[in-house]
Symmetry: C2
Subunit: 330 residues, 2 copies
DNA sequence: GAAATCGTTGCTCATATGAGCACCAGTGGC
DNA sequence: GCCACTGGTGCTCATATGAGCAACGATTTC
């Protein structure tokens, strides 16, 4: 009997029939040690597949790979849902993660957008006490577009703060201004400067990233035109983080535009000990890769498919050891 | 945390992360015993799914159920293949089973048809020594239809015998005759009678079953017209075994037709200690059920889907104990 | 209110299992 | 031919795990 077939028989008898390795050894005319090794080989060759089917399950092996490949402090990967509620699972996972985050942040910096709004919705009331939730990029002054509804910048921060019995500190400024001078002026204003100062002292950041295309909230909110975004893409933009557009290397694409953007800079996120990226969906794979490989986040919360894309693609700066993440079954 | 979620967490840490139950207990603030119970529950609730993916894998748990529900001596169930090669897997399994059959039959009775031909093809040369392979139902005289090719009745028996270095004994008679009198006459012929006598002494039988519709080999070979089959269906026929049509209860549908059919009767199969039914495909579920629940076979070789259909449907004579077939993982 | 019953919990103990190690057989270089 | 070497094999031993059991608490039943 071929070696592979032997593995199959052993696996059947062990996992399906509940026989002990010793019994299988007798049945297959070998020793129990050989059976043990056969089973081990069957497992990592993928002949035996062990899967945990549950919407709230996680993919610990992928998480480990992500941490190792990108030097992240933590990674949360939820299974790819059959339908399109990846967004829902991921934002719930992010809410769970935030609630379980220790030490509980006293000041939490957040961005805004569809994803953050979804996270806020799923947060358990009472997830923390006395947390000050600070907006880290502008976006409240322009009236929200019809589609945005209640999920706009201000209400996201307010909701998160409310559920923690804390206080929301909004950034009273547009996301992007028309002139760099105006931006400088508004940032020097006491109110805005104060908020930004506070934001920089945040003990944790929670943000998502946008795709550089017409679907961006920045376009939807009217800060940018579709043409603007097209040009950014020409320059290599893959998406935006807190309103600032980056290329695949995580670098600011258009310094001039960046100089008109209000909010904490990427350096703050890079230096923070806890900056959590929440990101889901196939369209966001390129941005996710840019963020994660340029060290913009220290924690990622994402879906299985994105995680696989990030780990399988070798086009990232493979500086960290890529140790075998062999899964093990007792 | 809900109980189910606790199971999920424990399963993740155990199966994905390779942690010990003790460690998980510490992590989840419980005892290792509770973790063990959580894992057990997760397994039989199907949250943890352990699957063996291999074309030659078997479904031991289903086999056990089949044996118990129908009082079979043995059952072989191969996984449902993604594509349409269920036929191929099942016939290979049947060939394997035949080769592994102990005691090695000295006289093997076989039927003929597409399935048996496929089994013969997959049999390993040298699977046995000195086996006499006897045809148990007629079918060599009419020239085979264009489609049947080399897989006709005679060549199947010859091939099986050849691969065992044995001898094929063909039944020199049509499958179905036009008049009962002719049938009686031919059966009393010394040659035919001798073969039938030998067939009755077979130590093992290997056969398949046909569906009662136009696709039947009996129609294809010209023994019956489509209209004949329609009428049989009217009378409750679900399919044929060795050329004899049965209803869902396994009873002969049309005694007059049966009296014109040459070959060993169903009583011989029922009384044989080893009569192996090889059957695959959704269209054959009804016949399979009829054969299996009426005791026409003592061993079944089939695909997962058919096995599930047989076990799940409660319309069979549930005389045998249906003990829990709980699968177990150490 | 008392009793009975059921499911849960933490335990003891026997056992199944994996890690680590010495050893052997085949294999290829010299 | 000789010798290092690799890959597999059977072993010992520490450990992880499940079966079984007694105690407990909750819920139902009278």
């Amino acid at each position: 009997m071929s070696d592979e077939l032997l593995m199959v028989r052993a696996a059947e008898l062990y996992y399906e029939d509940g026989k002990t390795q010793d019994e299988i050894g007798a049945l297959l005319r070998t020793t129990r040690w050989k059976v043990g090794r056969l089973l081990a080989k069957a497992r990592d060759r993928g002949i035996v597949r062990i899967e945990i089917v549950h919407p709230r399950a996680r993919r610990l092996s992928l998480e480990r790979l992500l941490r190792e490949q990108y030097g992240l402090a933590d990674a949360i990967v939820v299974p790819a849902a059959d339908d399109a509620d990846v967004q829902a699972s991921v934002s719930r996972a992010a809410a769970d993660y935030l609630a379980a985050l220790r030490p509980i942040p006293r000041v939490l910096g957040i961005s805004w957008g569809r994803t953050l709004s979804a996270v806020a919705d799923r947060l358990t009331p009472g997830w923390a006490n006395e947390v000050r939730v600070v907006q880290i990029n502008g976006g409240i002054s322009l009236s929200s577009a019809p589609g945005a509804g209640a999920g706009s910048a201000a209400s996201t921060a307010a909701l998160i703060a409310h559920k923690a019995g804390g206080q929301a500190i909004l950034l009273p400024s547009p996301a992007i201004l028309e002139h760099a001078a105006t931006k400088a002026a508004i940032e020097s204003d006491r109110t805005v400067a104060g908020v930004l100062e506070l934001a920089k002292t945040a003990t944790a950041f929670l943000f998502s990233a946008g795709v550089a295309d017409g679907s961006s909230v920045l376009v939807e909110s009217g800060y940018l035109s579709a043409a603007d975004v097209d040009e950014l893409v020409q320059q290599g933009a893959v998406g935006d983080v807190v309103g600032r557009f980056i290329n695949a290397e995580g670098e600011i694409v258009d310094p001039a535009l960046d100089a008109r953007t209000v909010g904490v800079g990427h350096d703050v996120l890079r230096e923070a000990s806890t900056s959590v990226l929440v990101i889901a969906g196939r369209s966001k794979h390129p941005v996710a890769r840019a963020v994660v490989s340029s060290g913009l986040c220290s924690v990622i919360v994402t879906d299985e498919e994105t995680a696989r894309a990030l780990t399988q693609d070798s086009a990232h700066g493979a500086s960290h050891g890529t140790e075998q993440g062999a899964s093990h079954v007792a």
